[in-house]
Every structure is written in structure tokens, then in C-alpha cells.
């Protein structure tokens, strides 16, 4: 009887698989990513290295000494004091205490803060509060301290915002109207992203993070690119991180372009090039985890996308490794056996410059 290897499904469920089953899932996962994105599959040696990471007997694993990378975050310190909505543990800490805890107790390479809604639109009316907190905290942090949130263009559609609801218009066949609504929302979003960036820049902003760009589709992604370009014109020294929302840019509009390139359907190795052209300093690759497939399948797929993006990119590529992303299981408390294997594989095989 062959020895079983403990692993996980994409929803976090623990299971034991044969070595051959894991190798088969790795092969299927990398082939799926390669077919979709038109990028090379992992080589036999890389697949075997991934198998070895998954098959390591220890509960947790880590990269080899000397191969460590930079870990940026998407509002991690917020999860110290927020409740379930923010994936948080609800500890009674202030923003300042949470950021310093993350920097000093956890040894994070960078820290950040963001509005508890984690969207840029609601920051606008309270920008003075955010600027004040940002400024105060930036005086006592040593590691790079970023401000981050999601563009989240969905907030600009009725009833939350001023634009007709594209998600309602589109299924009714009102394509032109839906596209016009998205273009209008894109313009509102771009303005708000630039507004928040500029105001925080006035108080010494060390870096801005546009997280999960494109969650509302290609026009959402376009707004982020345009905002980066605009901010960089008058603030060339403002570092900006931009992260994707999934392995390809969702074509909710289907026709929007940036510098002559249609955004819908761009895969990570293509996303990173448009981000680079806009002036982004670090690009975050996101790949959705499929809950009905194993971590082996999901991770092989994610590593394939990340590796292609890292090779194509001239700027640092960080793999997004939050809940349900890049092979991390989709559950509120992702198991650390799976999380650390994802971490190691994306760095050592995916050649990510950071996470």
C-alpha cells in the first residue's frame, strides 16, 4: 500500500492523497493554467519540486535560508482589531497599536492601514480623519507604512452611487446603457482614487496600495491604472502597489482599453505589463482558489501564472496570498500547513519577488 500524503482541498478540508494522485493534480493544474493564459507549463523538475514541497512531512514548511522575500499586506493590522467582517480577531487594539504590533511583534517587512470598509469611496468624506491617523502612525513606524483599500467600483452604481446599475442593465440586454454606466462609474472612481492619494501624499504618504483592482470588471481595473498614471505625474516619488482581483481581468464592459490595449481577459503576465506602463511600482498577482480541487491542483495552477508574470515583469511581482487566493484554501482560518506550502512554492518555483 502506498504511503498517503496529508494535504487539503481548496475549501480547507483535510484529505490524504497518494503520491501519484498529487502528481496528477499538479500536472492537471499547471496544464489548465498554461492552456488558459498561453504560458508555459511548469517543467518536470518544477513539478517535482512542487510535489516535494507538498509532500514534506512537517506540519509547516518554509523557504530555504537566503531565499526569503518581501511580504506586503492588505490591511493585516486591521484584522487584529476588526471583527469577522474584516477577517479579524477583535482584539481591543487601536490602529496605532495594531500597526506597531505587526511591525515589531510579527516582524513584517511592511505595514499598512486602511478604512474599515476597505474601499476608497467611503474614505473621501473622512479623508481628514484618515490623514490624521496616517500621519500620526507614520511618525512612529520604521518599516514602510502604506495606505490601502480596494477601488470597488460597485459602490458607484445605484442605489449606492450616482450611476445606473450596470449589473442590472446588462442581463436585460441594455448593453450600450450598461457600458455607458460603467464608463461613468470608472470616471468617478478614478477621481476618488486620485483625490485620496493626493490628500494622503500631503501628510507624507510612504506608499499607496490599490488592492483587488478589477473586482467590478475591466472598467474598475482601468480606473486604477488611470489613477496611478495621474498620481505619478505630480507625485513621481509616491510608491504605488496595484493588485489584481483574479487570474484574468473580468470583462464586464469588454471594450475598455488602456494605452490601446483591451483590458478584459488579460492574464497576470499581461496585467503586469499594463500596470508597469501606468507607473505601478509593485504588482500583486491574484489567482482564485477553486474549492472543489485540491491544494496541489490550485497551487500548480497559481505557481504557473505567477512564474509567467514574474518572468515577464520588470517590476517586482508579489503573489496575493489571502484567503482563497493563489492556492490558499477558501476558509476564514486557512490551515497553516497549506498556507506555508503555498508560500514556499510561490517564492521558490513561482519566483515571486514577494507575497
Amino acid at each position: 500500500m502506498s504511503q498517503k500524503i496529508l494535504t487539503r482541498m481548496g475549501d480547507g478540508e483535510r484529505l490524504a492523497m497518494d503520491a501519484q494522485e498529487i502528481r496528477d493534480d499538479i500536472r492537471r493544474g499547471t496544464a489548465e493554467a498554461a492552456r488558459r493564459a498561453g504560458v508555459p507549463e511548469l517543467t518536470e523538475a518544477e513539478q517535482e519540486e512542487l510535489f516535494a514541497i507538498l509532500a514534506e512531512p512537517g506540519r509547516i514548511v518554509s523557504v530555504e535560508p537566503g531565499r526569503e522575500v518581501i511580504v506586503t499586506d492588505d490591511g493585516c493590522s486591521m484584522s487584529f482589531y476588526s471583527g469577522q467582517d474584516g477577517g479579524g480577531v477583535g482584539a481591543p487594539l487601536s490602529r496605532l497599536q495594531a500597526v506597531l504590533t505587526y511591525e515589531r511583534a510579527c516582524g513584517a517587512d511592511t505595514t499598512s492601514m486602511g478604512h474599515s470598509d476597505y474601499s476608497y469611496k467611503p474614505v473621501k468624506p473622512i479623508i481628514n480623519f484618515e490623514a490624521n491617523d496616517y500621519y500620526n502612525i507614520s511618525q512612529v513606524t520604521t518599516a514602510p507604512f502604506l495606505y490601502g483599500a480596494q477601488p470597488n467600483m460597485g459602490l458607484y452604481f445605484q442605489p449606492d452611487g450616482p450611476c445606473a446599475n450596470a449589473a442590472e442593465l446588462m442581463p436585460l440586454g441594455k448593453i450600450d446603457e450598461a457600458r455607458a454606466a460603467q464608463e461613468e462609474a470608472c470616471e468617478h472612481l478614478r477621481r476618488d482614487l486620485v483625490f485620496v492619494g493626493r490628500r494622503l501624499a500631503e501628510v507624507g504618504l510612504e506608499g499607496l496600495n490599490f488592492d483587488t483592482c478589477g473586482s467590478a470588471g475591466d472598467a474598475d481595473y482601468l480606473a486604477a491604472l488611470q489613477a496611478v498614471e495621474e498620481l505619478k505625474k505630480d507625485l513621481p516619488d509616491l510608491p504605488i502597489i496595484m493588485g489584481g482581483a483574479g487570474e484574468f481581468v473580468l470583462g464586464m464592459h469588454g471594450g475598455v482599453e488602456y494605452q490601446g490595449r483591451r483590458l478584459a481577459g488579460l492574464y497576470p503576465h499581461e496585467q503586469v505589463k499594463v500596470a508597469e506602463a501606468a507607473g505601478v511600482d509593485i504588482y500583486g498577482v491574484a489567482v482564485s482558489t477553486a474549492t472543489t480541487e485540491s491544494v496541489a491542483w490550485n497551487l500548480a495552477r497559481a505557481v504557473t501564472f505567477v512564474k509567467a508574470a514574474s518572468e515577464a515583469s520588470s517590476i517586482p511581482v508579489h503573489a496575493n496570498v489571502g484567503m482563497g487566493v493563489c492556492g490558499v484554501p477558501m476558509m476564514e482560518q486557512p490551515p497553516i500547513d497549506a498556507v506555508t506550502r503555498v508560500s514556499k512554492a510561490l517564492v521558490q518555483i513561482g519566483k515571486a519577488d514577494g507575497l
Binding site: 448593453i175 487570474e247 481581468v249 473580468l250 470583462g251 476564514e332
Partner: protein, 215 residues
């Protein structure tokens, strides 16, 4: 000849050319092709291809909507030619909404589009839909399936609330239920007693068809 017509029909659906799809449906019937053969071999492969292309980011929502329209136009013509009593199983009626407290509707919109493209009659209640309303509207619509979407771990319990409300009202057997949304998993579906779970929009169509077949 049929093969050429089948391929042209697939192309018409993929291109979202409703006029051409209608023309080919009429032509197929005029050539004596059995209506059900015509639907299943000329048009269904087209919409399946559209679903796959959408899932892979090779085709986008507006094109998907156009393809759905083309599919609808062709199937309306072909269905009208099916003699009374020989019709294929009735179209599935699907009520869908994002659960109460959740305002995310992008994913649900894609599910609606793909369901329509695959011949379902869909009543889209939008977002932030209270449980009572889902049941009331399903009753009025005489739905086969109630589908709910939840994008947040904090709004997922509303899917459980629907299951409990259906049981309490003695309606659990009348409507099948499907759940989806980013944090929703097969395990959650089983735990709350939902009849189906779909990882993405393409899977939603497959599961809905399976549930319809067991109705």
C-alpha cells in the same frame, strides 16, 4: 449539409448574431431536421462554447448577452415547430438574488446571463434580498429553483436562514435551492441542506440542469 448548418449555427451563437441564428433555425427546419436534433446539435454546442470562452476570459459579458439573445431567438423558432405534447422538458424557472445584507451583484449577474443563455427563465431579484421576499417571489413565479449568492462570510448565514424558512413553511420539497458566492463551498451547502452548490457561473448552469432533471 446538416454538418455545415450545424457549424454555421454554432458560429452564429458564438458571434451573438441573432438574425443569422434565426435564419439557420428556419433553414434547418425547412430541410427537415428534427427540431430536437437541431437544438441539441446546432445550437447547444454553440452556447456551451460561449460558456467555456467566458470562463476562460476569452469572451466577455456583453458578448455573452448577445449570444444568449441569439440562442433565445433560435430556440423560440425551433420550439414553435415541436408538435404539442412532444416538447422537450419545460424551461426551468429560476429565482435568484444576493442575500439580505449583501450588496455584491457582479457574480450573480454573470450567473443570470449564463442561465438565460441556456434556456432558463430567470427572475432576478437583485441584491440585498430578504429571505421572505425570495420565497414569495419563488411562489408567484412558480420557480423550480431558488438560487442565492453571498460574497461575504458574514452574509452566508442568510442562505441557511432560507433553508430554515423553507422547511418551516413546508416548502423545502417544492423548490430546489442552490448557493454560490466567493466564500461559499460545497461543505457549506451540505451543512445547511442546500440542494446544490456551484463554484462559478458555468457550474451553476450544470447544477441547475441536474436539479431540474430530478424535479
Amino acid at each position: 449539409m446538416s454538418e455545415a448548418l450545424f457549424q454555421a449555427s454554432v458560429d452564429a451563437v458564438v458571434r451573438g448574431d441573432a438574425k443569422k441564428a434565426e435564419e439557420l433555425a428556419r433553414q434547418g427546419l425547412a430541410e427537415g431536421i428534427e427540431p430536437l436534433v437541431l437544438i441539441n446539435q446546432a445550437f447547444v454546442p454553440g452556447i456551451n462554447q460561449v460558456g467555456e470562452m467566458f470562463g476562460a476570459g476569452k469572451l466577455f459579458l456583453p458578448e455573452l448577452i448577445m449570444s444568449a439573445k441569439a440562442m433565445q431567438a433560435a430556440t423560440d423558432i425551433i420550439n414553435a415547430a415541436i408538435p404539442e405534447g412532444n416538447a422537450q422538458e419545460g424551461r426551468g424557472r429560476f429565482v435568484i438574488g444576493t442575500v439580505e445584507g449583501d450588496v455584491h451583484d457582479i457574480g450573480k449577474t454573470i450567473v443570470v446571463a449564463l442561465l438565460k443563455a441556456n434556456g432558463f427563465e430567470v427572475l432576478d431579484l437583485g441584491r440585498d434580498v430578504p429571505t421572505d421576499r425570495l420565497i414569495e417571489e419563488a411562489d408567484k413565479f412558480n420557480a423550480h429553483i431558488i438560487g442565492t449568492s453571498a460574497l461575504l462570510t458574514t452574509t452566508m448565514p442568510a442562505q441557511q436562514k432560507l433553508e430554515e424558512a423553507l422547511k418551516k413553511a413546508g416548502l423545502k420539497g417544492r423548490f430546489k435551492t442552490m448557493v454560490g458566492g466567493a466564500p461559499v463551498t460545497e461543505r457549506w451547502a451540505k451543512k445547511i441542506g442546500a440542494d446544490g452548490f456551484a463554484e462559478d457561473a458555468g457550474a451553476a448552469v450544470v447544477v441547475a440542469k441536474q436539479l431540474l432533471a430530478t424535479n
